[in-house]
């Protein structure tokens, strides 16, 4: 069985880029199993992802690509392997629980290094799965002080992605800049509808017939990061806002789980405030 790798490249567009990339891969014994390529014509940027196998030298390919594509290129080449994640949550168990069950049954290509929460309540669930639970209450702390405590814990871990599984506090830009394009949040509405607090109450008051959930990368502005995944369910006049909230949990956890899977499989590119999903 040959080793399996993912390669992702994005750089300013110019003619011949597929040719250049595929030449480097070919000449360095990498076989392309599947690839997708997209040019953002508006911003003149090229995106390429391939699954390759072969007996290759990662550093050699990286170096040659770098030379060909120039300093503005992002080049990512990595063996397919389990990534490391940390999950942050508050009080609700559904999104966290879904990830824990997937992890238990080996369906998640990730190691869960730790769970962090500003509440203690979910520790009883996390303990069952033998994963460290860091209870970091925010009571009596300024936002900056609280985030400093969180960062202090996070620094101990080698993290690929932080998953906000219904973590109900806003993260400051100062916090986020420590993990650029590494924090995945689930927002409990079909963004950009119902930004902000209690979207289910907003949806109930508006009388919508469909509610949804949105997983996105976290950037500086709340609920405004690049969208990775969205899905919806139908509701009707018999739903109170609490019924919507309850029904919404199924779609929240599914959307978060889908977005996490896409990230773990290196299928997500960030393109300004949007994503490209291959």
């Amino acid at each position: 069985m040959l080793n399996s790798y993912i390669i992702k490249v994005d750089c300013p567009d110019r003619k011949g880029l597929v040719y250049d990339v595929s030449m480097v891969l070919y000449e360095n014994d990498a076989n392309i199993i599947t690839n997708r390529e997209f040019v953002d014509l508006e911003n003149r940027r090229f995106f390429f992802r391939a699954e390759i196998n072969g007996d290759i030298s990662v550093s050699c390919i990286e170096e040659k690509l770098s030379k060909k594509l120039g300093y503005e290129a992002n080049i990512y080449l990595s063996q397919r392997k389990r990534k490391n994640i940390v999950i942050m949550c508050t009080k609700e168990a559904h999104a966290l629980g879904d990830i824990l069950i997937k992890h238990y049954s080996n369906e998640l290509n990730a190691n869960i290094l730790a769970i962090l929460s500003n509440y203690e309540i979910l520790s009883s669930l996390v303990e069952k799965f033998d994963i460290p639970y860091h209870f970091i209450p925010n009571e009596g702390l300024s936002r900056a002080e609280h985030e400093e405590k969180i960062l202090h814990v996070l620094k101990n871990y080698d993290i690929n992605y932080i998953v906000l599984a219904k973590y109900m506090r806003i993260l400051t830009p100062e916090f986020v800049k420590n993990y650029p394009n590494k924090i995945i949040n689930i927002h409990h509405s079909f963004l950009p509808a119902f930004i902000g607090a209690n979207p289910y109450k907003q949806a109930y008051n508006r009388g919508v017939k469909i509610i949804g959930a949105t997983a996105h990368m976290v950037n500086d502005n709340l609920d405004e990061g690049p969208i990775i995944s969205q899905d919806i369910i139908r509701v009707d006049h018999t739903y109170s806002w609490r019924d919507m909230q309850k029904a919404g949990k199924n779609v929240e956890k599914t959307v978060l789980s889908n977005a996490l899977t896409l990230a773990l499989e290196d299928k997500v590119f960030i393109n300004g405030n949007k994503t490209i999903i291959f």
Copy 2:
């Protein structure tokens, strides 16, 4: 074959309303085929719809119900029959064309009395189907003057519903009050996301993964009337905003057509700024 009727009742909630309504129906030889009932507990209002058959006297049942339910009740009892609609449009053919084809193949339980448009372009389509086309340009007219001209034409028709099949001008509250809860609009976004102009461009710029359409009753405020029906389709990074617009046409016409069917079957109640759909 017995005659078939629809009865709709809404009134302030109190105990025994289903009993009272069903007693009047029973004692006046009406047989209930199917019924739904819902109490809006927040606003203490009762909603009831039934399909009934029998050899009944409409006026007699209405009178008895009115006596039992009081002056705050809305009572609607009507034989099932084709309703009369007028369609307003601007330049796009898809939503109008869908209704015309349904009408042609006798799938729409309605008579199309006329088409109105502020552009001439769709007359070539409408003519094919032998339906009057009123071209009422708005050029050089104030909004009030234009709407007066439209009303002048509409007054000639006995209208159950006005269907805005991508009519791209805002109607004033003064116009709307002539047809309360009788104007159905299709908005080309998943409301309340992307209110206002060019929602597909907004959706493109936000990088959403799902776009939608919303059919709603028109009230005083643009894009804020009670929602009747919504649906969505998936998009991805390869869609330009024009691709979204093109793909969205399928969902626009389907959602409008569904909402119209619900209205023609007397399945829609207006409850403040929401609908109840039985």
Copy 3:
């Protein structure tokens, strides 16, 4: 706060049934919050469900309804309360795990009395949640012997519903007749497509673009009981059958969970080989 009840009635159709039922409820101090009624015109059968509240005597209402509706009527009247369920599973954790997490976070209106399995593997998951796990291997046993062992365990519990959460063995009609309309199964296809073994492999070989899952009541014939709930997800040519299987787990668990919720809320009627869902 008044007590809350569910009433379900089905009986041969005749004129005046809504009137009769609502009269008994009214005269016995029950207030209808919401109700739905449906007549199966093909089979001339009447179905009625209402959520009621009030200070009522259950036995008194049952008796009076029974007198009015005759011996062919099914009458169910019960206070809203947690029901008792037993879950049967084999090796896969996703559907079981989803129910366990919902139970943990008090989102499931049910007590999980026990888990039964023909494999030992999931005991490590179930133990975490302090629920009895009965490992009943089928090795070396005839189907009848194995089912007898299961029944022996089940007889100790007062069961409202048995949930087959990917229990991968066929139950005999002899077993099923002990729990008529009380066994809910999740089948990993969009029935009636891909009946039988390995539906994902069948779906892959057929090249479908959508896969699904079906929750149904179990009757005598495998995969042929009344369907409660179905849902689908989209797949494409890049999915191997194992990818479909993996993606399908999300829809399997959601559909099973939806069907279970409907059953726990007494919203499911069995009508021959179909369901009526209010």
Copy 4:
């Protein structure tokens, strides 16, 4: 503005194919705007599609690719342009009407050369759009005789695709072999469920909660060709089979229209009995 082309290649898989194809494109002044590539590992076959632009020589690129890829390769390179279609129908207007409206509003990248039908009824619709209508009744004819008459008409047209828009007769393998992978059919069920006659009646009798439609290429066996597109809608116990049929028309026409669009954009590969959709 540069000329825009589509290139599609499929051939036995081997190492370096993306490199080879992109080299030929690069060296012949073709710029890749977007491409997708997929290897069917089971059957060891390579599929590649790109949208390219540039001032190119089609024959030159075809020749060089052919030399590089060998005689087992299928190579398609064509300027983006309107394709020619013929539509066959029987009595129902919805799928045909949808295509006619799209054609009228210039949303379909195709010329409709003619409509053929074994019934006269839809001629009144087609006439409105000034498209030739060939009424070829099958009464009193053997299937072979009828198909011969159809072929006689079809031979006058230069056809890219034949669209069966609810053409309710089975085509023989002898007929189909004249238009291999050029006939697109809409089947009114979620294949492979409900193969054969009256799928809505079958769906009603089975009590399904979801119905669907399937567009596929026609091959020798009825309802068994490669699936291009599928979609579904939800139904419930209140639907008679005629209600399902009526509701199903919306999804039938949308699925057929989506499949046709994919074909017109050269996004469909046939891979044995499956499709690859880029």
